[in-house]
Symmetry: C2
Amino acid sequence: MKDAGKSGGPLRAQPAVKRSRIQTRNRKRILDAALEVFSAHGFRGATLDQIAAEAGLSKPNILYYFDGKEAIHVTLLNQLMETWLDPLEQMNPEGEPLEEIIAYVQRKLDMAQAYPRESRLFANEILQGAPRMGPHLEKRLKPLVDQKATLIAGWAAAGRIAPVDPRHLIFSIWATTQHYADFEAQVNVLMPEGGVFPGAATYLETMFRRMLKV
Amino acid sequence: MKDAGKSGGPLRAQPAVKRSRIQTRNRKRILDAALEVFSAHGFRGATLDQIAAEAGLSKPNILYYFDGKEAIHVTLLNQLMETWLDPLEQMNPEGEPLEEIIAYVQRKLDMAQAYPRESRLFANEILQGAPRMGPHLEKRLKPLVDQKATLIAGWAAAGRIAPVDPRHLIFSIWATTQHYADFEAQVNVLMPEGGVFPGAATYLETMFRRMLKV
DNA sequence: TCGCTTTTTTACCAATTGGTAAATTGACGA
DNA sequence: TCGTCAATTTACCAATTGGTAAAAAAGCGA
């Protein structure tokens, strides 16, 4: 039923079609505008008019490049998933366990700082029950988490880090790092103005070191 | 424990307006339905029709009890803030520092388990930049956090817990506990079916103990 | 029961929003 | 320079949505 040339399943990101210079530029503009708007208002809260205004294009012109509001959102989510998985993928089984985990925490925190919109887009999607991302979580996220959980469990069993439930450890890393992006509005109220990220980096390194050192 | 923990705070505009039995019942129905719908879809994503259907009332009837969609949302947020602050307020300056903090973590986790809709309602609001809650955060949350941060800093300075930035500690407690409610859709994909909360409780107690013990 | 108030329903709106059709303009290779 | 296809605009819709007016129904004290 699905046309391989165009949709080929929920996992789709790279162009199977060659795009003109104008197409490349305008698709990028649209996706960037959509990221801005979707991350700030959620899927339902965002309007095509907002995205069009942000992109500097007309609404029908937006729909010339994408099949609809949902198609833009899905495209964004697909691209995001790869970026999102990357820091965890980089965790090296051959490395020094504690340092590998600490480095992962730092990469995640760096991402929250560098890409807060992406973090919020993701948070919005999961908060609403992952209606457009469920398959993605099963097919891409779960296998990776299973693999890394096994790795961490191995490190703990070998006494190279303190005993710990690897999945809850991963959750706590996600939660604490993404918090600074997702709950920025609250953090900004509670922390004296000025970058909270240096302090966060120090705090989180300390926390996970104390927790995991043998 | 009838009034003990609740009647003390005359924050809600409950006085002066005496409500009939029907009003009391229907307002409660509406607020409960609205909590369900707002927490699942966000403010913009929720419709009065959905709330009306969930409440078993007609849309105009909903508007007979509340001035509008926003008024329902604000009422919910106001009620929520008190519930939300309560676990932190209970942290006792006279208690044993480490046990007080661990107990706070458990209370927060209990709330995430017992009131996931409230957690998501709050998360939605903050994610969108706290458009209807900004003043509340400044007026109610900030003073309480400042006070408890001072308390925790005192404990650390006295060597009764390990040195730690109290605000980042609080953030990490919020982030890790609320994660199980807010990111439930993701957690359910990654954890073998069956309650994750017992495991979470054990994990979080271990983590914060290791982090804070002197 | 009567008469008044509270509650609920019916019948609408105006604005917004995602989306489309068709005409118009622009890019660019031959 | 021209012809053609890509890109954009103009002018619309139909559905949804928050909200209202007014009539009908239900409560309820006397």
